[in-house]
């Protein structure tokens, strides 16, 4: 399998000096479906921002399509690796849905016919055809999340990187989104702490905690290792019981 992302010994600190990532090693192959799970503040989003050159480290720690990210290939890297941000209100900044979905193709210099075609195809893939002239602030969160995905699909990426795609969605919206993502023929990298989503979509799971990779294994093995998930704050601790099991009387 072709290796499309290789990260070697990546360390990153925020401008204020706080360490976010330490010694990250990761390789992603074409067709992979990878989850990056970890508690809040583990560095998941920071890691994702390295994948398409939004954040860049000194040296050759991140290679995409076997090349380091440079100013020269930045545009191409960003076309091939689509990044969907957590909050669709950040991702959708245009006055209409059409403008938002067309933004990427237009920046890539497509012709008008190509742009219109790319937008129509992307909206059809996420089941939002006919919403072209609506304004995103009048749409529901589930609809906005789908449009946010369409804004990336319109650039025909080879890899889709999603940051917490199901956060704040109701169960129905969440499963619809999972269904949608499953049908897309792209390499997926998903950062989340929603283990249901991970189990439904990903074959490989990386646990990121405190800016370090704590595990990198098949989804089956990681998700069934309850003590390890618990150690990284990813499932219910054994000593906390659910309400029906709880014996503590109500002291009102």
């Amino acid at each position: 399998m072709e290796e499309i992302i290789r990260i070697e010994d990546l360390t990153y600190s925020y401008p204020d000096g706080q360490r976010a990532l330490t010694g990250i090693n990761l390789a992603v192959h074409r067709g992979d479906s990878l989850a990056i799970i970890g508690p809040n503040g583990a560095g998941k989003s920071t890691l994702l921002l390295h994948l398409n050159g939004i954040l860049r480290s000194e040296g050759l720690h991140v290679k995409v399509f076997s090349e380091p990210v440079t100013d020269k290939n930045l545009k191409e890297v960003r076309r091939r690796i689509g990044l969907v941000f957590q909050n669709p209100d950040d991702q959708l900044f245009s006055a209409t849905v059409f403008d938002d979905v067309a933004f990427g193709p237009m920046n890539l210099g497509y012709s008008e016919a190509e742009v219109r075609q790319a937008v129509a195809a992307a909206l059809a893939k996420v089941g939002m055809s006919g919403f072209e002239h609506r304004s995103s602030h009048h749409l529901s969160l589930g609809e906005r999340k789908r449009i946010a995905i369409a804004t990336i699909l319109s650039m025909s990426p080879e890899v889709m990187v999603l940051d917490e795609p199901t956060s704040n969605l109701d169960p129905k919206g969440k499963w619809q989104l999972i269904d949608l993502l499953r049908a897309l023929p792209v390499t997926r990298i998903i950062a989340s702490h929603d283990l249901e989503l991970v189990a439904a979509l990903c074959r490989r799971v990386v646990i990121l905690d405190g800016g370090r990779i704590a595990a990198d294994d098949t989804a089956e093995r990681v998700l069934n290792d309850k003590p390890r998930l618990e150690a990284h704050g990813l499932c219910r601790p054994a000593e906390i019981k659910s309400a029906s099991e709880s014996v503590t009387p109500f002291r009102g």
Partner: protein
């Protein structure tokens, strides 16, 4: 959260709605320019302008009451600026008062200035309301773009339109959170709290700006803005533009020739 639309009634259909946004924008611009150039207290000229806008409002089938209500919003602002004019302009006095130790008097000339300013402001705002309630904001932005308004300006306006609702939501949520904790106390304390809320809102908007920029960069934004647009400028636009322009310009000529 549910929002009212800034461009309410813009999805209706009428002669005015069907005009090209550029035609309407240029017409409104011309109209306001003509108003600004009109001399003091030439009431026949103002009457023509009023009839002109009133006819257009009726043609647009936007509820008259809605337009009137919205137009009244401008009055307090204009009054705030202009209310003292009668007291500063010289001329025949029509009223004088003694306020504490000051003796103030208002002049007829000043009063004419005040009324002229009010009328000009009100007619201008009527035309602007008509423009925004018969044109979708997105079409208007597109029109501005085609009229060669710098693309950066159009983008700023477009961002404003997109994020004003999100900011309103943010303020609403902050207010709810504040009131849920029994906001009250001394006036100074309350003012301080509101000040802090404004600061928080500013910082949050700033951070959102950074995130939006990241999302733009991730889709290949490099500071260049690109566009694909066409609008259709038809016969009705030509006729409307010519007719409207003729009335406004003839009235303006009358104003100076008179």
């Amino acid at each position: 959260m549910k929002h009212s639309f800034l461009d309410r009634y813009s999805d209706r259909d009428s002669l005015i709605h069907r005009l090209d946004p550029r035609t309407k924008f240029v017409a409104v611009f011309l109209y306001i320019l003509a108003l600004a150039l009109t001399s003091l207290a030439v009431w026949p000229v103002f009457a023509v302008y009023f009839v002109l806008i009133a006819v257009l409002i009726l043609l647009s089938r936007v509820p008259v009451l809605y337009i009137l209500k919205r137009s009244l919003l401008i009055i307090p602002f204009v009054l705030l600026i202009a209310v003292f004019i009668p007291f500063f302009k010289g001329g025949d006095t029509f009223a004088s008062f003694t306020v504490w130790t000051w003796h103030v008097s208002a002049s007829y000339h000043g009063l004419q200035v005040l009324v002229t300013i009010l009328v000009k402001a009100w007619l201008s705002i009527l035309s602007l309301i008509l423009l925004t309630s018969t044109t979708k904001i997105t079409d208007l932005l597109r029109g501005l773009e085609q009229l060669r308004l710098p693309r950066v300006m159009v983008m700023i306006l477009s961002f404003m339109y997109r994020y004003i609702f999100i900011l309103t939501d943010e303020v609403l949520r902050m207010k709810q959170a504040r009131d849920s904790r029994n906001f009250g106390g001394s006036r100074l304390w309350r003012i301080k709290t509101v000040g802090k809320m404004a600061g928080t809102l500013f910082i949050r908007s700033y951070e959102r700006g950074e995130r939006v920029y990241t999302a733009m960069a991730a889709r290949g934004y490099d500071g260049q803005t690109r566009t694909l647009r066409q609008l259709n400028f038809g016969l009705s636009d030509l006729l409307f533009g010519a007719g409207f322009g003729l009335v406004v310009i003839l009235t303006l000529i009358y104003n100076y020739w008179h």
